[in-house]
């Protein structure tokens, strides 16, 4: 049976579903017998879940506009250096 320390070392592979079947079986066997590790597994899983989808991906419109303008300037500079015609509007 896994020790609690070994359980912690293998926790990520279990959560990311990257561990092999034997490892999953050993972890599942450990948590049925160790309530503390069961709670750690459950709350770590919830920690990851709670971050997914909650933190917004927002980009203020003015930040976006300034970015596009800066890119346009860079494009003109690059074309100028290369001796190409500037951006056509």
């Amino acid at each position: 049976m896994l020790t609690c320390k070994e359980f912690l070392q293998e926790l990520n592979d279990y959560l990311d579903e990257t561990g092999d079947i034997e490892l999953r079986r050993r972890i599942e066997s450990h948590i049925t017998q160790c309530p503390n590790c069961f709670v750690i597994l459950d709350t770590t899983k919830k920690t990851i879940q709670v971050y997914k989808g909650v933190l917004p991906q927002t980009l203020p419109q003015d930040v976006h506009s300034r970015l596009l303008k800066a890119v346009e300037r860079k494009c003109s500079e690059k074309k100028l250096r290369a001796g190409l015609p500037g951006i056509q509007h």
Partner: protein, 210 residues
């Protein structure tokens, strides 16, 4: 009628075609890439720098450098992974400048073993997020991430918020896969501990472990 870009007509986001066009100086193609990834890059920069102004600087620097050096992009990795790497480097430079501490972010954290110590174990409420408004929850989660050391925070943001694979995160950070795994475990355990203080079920005991 305005003609749609070929990639939109097909309904598919063909990244390599856009990159190829952008490399030839096609601004519209590059802007499509900007529009696809600017939100993610801004969020990533904001998480690492913890500052709106720095995040905007990082956002601009990232896309300007990407545009300037598109010729160096070999296409062996995804375009997104490539710009994440630029954004992470720019963000870390901001942190270093601010803290005047060149050793802060990408050095290997000293392994004292303390980062994997679990101090609090308590069952959480069934739906802990429902105890708080969306804004309050966002603040709790943000503050918890901000409390992590930069080396751990960066890995957590790339893996669990931006959903890069372990290998992509390693490539973006220029560190090994085992280093990503080790930092991610510590970050997750520390966040779990911080969030337990908010989300634990009332009346449950809290005790030390390991």
């Amino acid at each position: 009628m305005k003609k749609m870009p070929a990639t939109q007509e097909a309904g598919i986001f063909d990244e390599s075609a856009l990159v190829a066009k952008a490399r030839e100086g096609d601004l519209a193609a590059f802007n499509e890439l900007v529009n696809s990834y600017s939100r993610k890059i801004f969020r990533l920069a904001k998480h690492i720098t913890q500052n709106d102004e720095d995040a905007e600087d990082v956002l601009q620097e990232t896309f300007l450098k990407a545009f300037e050096h598109l010729g160096d992009f070999q296409g062996q990795s995804k375009f997104y992974t490539w710009i994440v790497r630029i954004a992470v480097n720019e963000s870390l430079m901001k942190l270093r400048k601010r803290k005047s501490d060149r050793s802060v972010p990408l050095d290997e954290p000293v392994d004292t073993g303390e980062d994997t110590v679990v101090r609090e174990i308590a069952v959480w409420d069934e739906n802990p997020e429902q105890k708080y408004s969306r804004e309050e929850l966002g603040q709790i989660l943000d503050e918890a991430v901000q409390g992590l050391r930069p080396a751990f925070r960066t890995v957590f943001v790339l893996r669990d918020i931006e959903e890069l694979s372990t290998e992509e995160a390693a490539e973006a950070l220029g560190i090994s896969v085992p280093a990503v795994k080790s930092r991610l475990l510590r970050a997750r355990l520390q966040l779990r501990e911080k969030l337990t203080r908010f989300f634990k079920r009332k009346g449950d005991d809290v005790f030390a472990y390991m």
